[in-house]
Amino acid sequence: MKNPLTLPGLGILKGMAVTARNLVGSYYGTKRLHTISYPEERLALPENSRNFPFLVYDGEDADGGLRCTACRICEKECPPQVITIVPERDENGKLTKHPTVFDIDLNACMSCQICVEVCPFESIKMDSAFEYSSFEHVESLVLHKSDLAKPNSYYHDIKPTEATAVDANLEAERQRKAEAAAKKEAALQAKKAAAAAKSAAADAEKTPPTPDTDASD
């Protein structure tokens, strides 16, 4: 049964009350106005966000502390082939484990993270920085080694869980290497000692017995 008392306009008045609440409430607090005024304010990015790669360095030296050894695996595995690496050679032409040139072309990088997955030295990781807009393609959007190198503390800032895991991994790796080296050293030492003992024994065998002396006199 239809309500016999329909008040035209009542619905609009109720609606206007709701809108007025919205209007007034938008000045108090963020419940009714949660716009973030970029670029004055920025939304915190989640930890797993990724944009373009960067190189991690340990310690203070941005060039010498690079974990990268210029093995060029990432260059080979990159699908759009945006990584360019030139390894450093010393004066004899021997490869030092350090890159002179490490360029990433952001114009074509597709953030697939394959370079991160294949790197054996945990030296290239994904950054979440996204403010790369510029007016030129080549001058600003091809990043060089100095642009890409960022300290481990930065890595901890943007991805704490991942960074701690990586650090633990590297630490474990170092420990293992140290243990292996120590064991090898110990084995070497043991071998040396055994060899020494053996030669000492051989020497001891070579010396003549004391009662039989020569009667030539």
Partner: protein, 459 residues
């Protein structure tokens, strides 16, 4: 030229632009200081022609703030007569141009402000900021809009009727501006005191329809034509409730002149309730009717079917770009301001103060305060209700508002002839309420707000 290389002209002013962009407040202060210095210099030089008359004009105006604009104008005319020996016909001409200039300046500023205020209020209703980048709180946004409209290419479609296409925005703008000339801004401050002001206003509203048709037809676009037809049908239908509501007021104040109508609303009952028509039962209903019909006349939400973007792009304004679109935009807003000004004059007591102890605020300020409250109400309604459907719109006008209009006239007559007693008020209220409820029931049965039934689908 590549986009990165700048044109030679901008190279010359680039340092100034950079400074203005980096230090906006500083630039603003510098500009205001420069304007003050130049203005004082000019005033000083002008004063030399007839010493003392300019300051006398200012003093006159300050002594009686309620009539300040009129006294200022008279003082300036006096100065021109004595200092520059203007002939009487030159004085008349100057007086006319002063009034026109002031009106255009004031309403230009109000128009610019309203376009910004509308966007910001609508945005806040919709849980977002409005434009807030261009100046502090987005105050220079209208300037940016104006520049944008001016530098856009003026596209005239190939098959369009060039004469019609050009004349239509002009024919829409002129009546809107003419309405501003008869509004009573203050006591004795209507620029033209027409004895038949109400009739003039309705005649101008009717003339606007021809402009809409020219816009729709001249664009050689079937959507523009449909939008123009809908707009004309809507405007014609909603003019009748507008007439009827105004008619009740004209009946009771005995005159078609807005000045006389405002004077009929002077005084206070019980020494604090003003005699405005909106505080009577028929006046309140009449005001609601007038305001709703005014929204429909200006093609504003919820009656913006002719210019609904999701339906007809922009209706009769589809093929207009650049400055012509700006003229349409201006015509719509200034039309809204004019019709709200009329609502203020007819129902809200014009330039009268609402309370006796607030009468020290000048009349013209009260007029603009009330005018702007109505504009804010219109913006509020726009942000609240969705667009009305075409047949609902016409049904509402013909089946609800016109009978309500007749009821309001009857109620006004009963109220008047009862002589102001309580019986008169009660009877008048009943005469308004009964059709309201009955028509409400009729309309809600005919246009029910029910779940939509699809004829050819299963669920």
């Amino acid at each position: 030229m590549l986009p990165t290389e700048t044109q030679p002209q901008t190279q010359r002013i680039r340092p100034a632009l950079n400074f203005a962009a980096r230090r906006p407040w500083c630039t603003l202060a510098l500009l205001i200081a420069a304007a003050l210095v130049v203005g004082t210099g000019v005033l000083f030089l002008l004063n030399l022609k007839a010493p003392g008359l300019l300051t006398a004009a200012l003093m006159d105006a300050l002594s009686d703030p309620g009539q300040a604009p009129v006294l200022l104008k008279q003082g300036l005319l006096n100065y021109l007569e004595n200092g520059w020996s203007f002939a009487p016909w030159m004085l008349e001409l100057t007086s006319i141009f002063m009034v026109i200039g002031t009106l255009l300046a004031v309403f230009g500023v109000i128009f610019a402000l309203t376009s910004l205020v509308e966007r910001k209020v609508l945005a806040r209703i919709q849980n977002r900021f409005g434009p807030n980048r261009v100046g502090p709180w987005g105050l220079f946004q209208p300037l940016a809009d104006a520049v944008k409209m001016l530098i856009k290419e003026d596209i005239v479609p190939t098959g369009a009727d060039k004469v019609l296409h050009l004349l239509a925005p002009i024919i829409m703008l002129v009546p809107a501006l003419l309405v501003l000339a008869i509004l009573p801004y203050g006591p004795g401050m209507a620029p033209i005191e027409l004895g038949v002001g109400i009739l003039f206003f309705f005649a101008l509203g009717a003339t606007t329809e021809v402009g809409v048709f020219m816009a729709g037809w001249g664009s050689n676009n079937k959507y523009s034509l449909i939008g123009a037809m809908r707009s004309i049908a809507q405007m014609i239908s909603y003019e009748i409730p507008l007439f009827l509501a105004a008619l009740s007021v004209v009946m009771l104040s005995g005159s078609l002149s807005p000045d006389a109508i405002v004077s009929a609303q002077s005084g206070y009952a019980f020494s604090f309730v003003p005699h405005w028509f909106v505080f009577t039962p028929w006046g309140f209903a009449g005001f609601v009717l007038f305001f709703t019909a005014a929204l429909a006349e200006s093609n504003r939400s919820p009656f913006d079917l002719p210019e609904g973007e999701s339906e007809l792009v922009a209706g009769h304004m589809t093929e207009y770009s650049g400055f012509k679109y700006a003229v349409f935009f201006m015509a719509e807003y200034i039309g809204l301001l004019g019709i709200c000004g009329f609502a203020v004059a007819l129902f809200l007591g014009g330039w009268h103060a609402p309370l006796p102890w607030l009468e020290w605020i000048p009349g013209y300020l009260w007029f603009f305060i009330k005018l702007y409250s109505l504009v804010l109400l219109a913006i509020w309604v726009r942000g609240t209700v969705p667009r009305m459907r075409g047949d609902h719109l016409m049904g509402f006008a013909w089946k609800f508002m016109i009978p309500m209009g007749f009821a309001i006239i009857l109620a006004a007559a009963v109220w008047h002839y009862a002589g102001g007693g309580v019986l008169g008020w009660v009877a008048s209220a009943v005469i308004v309420l009964m059709p309201y409820l009955a028509l409400g029931r009729v309309v809600s049965i005919q246009y029910p707000a029910s779940r939509r039934v699809y004829r050819f689908s299963e669920s």
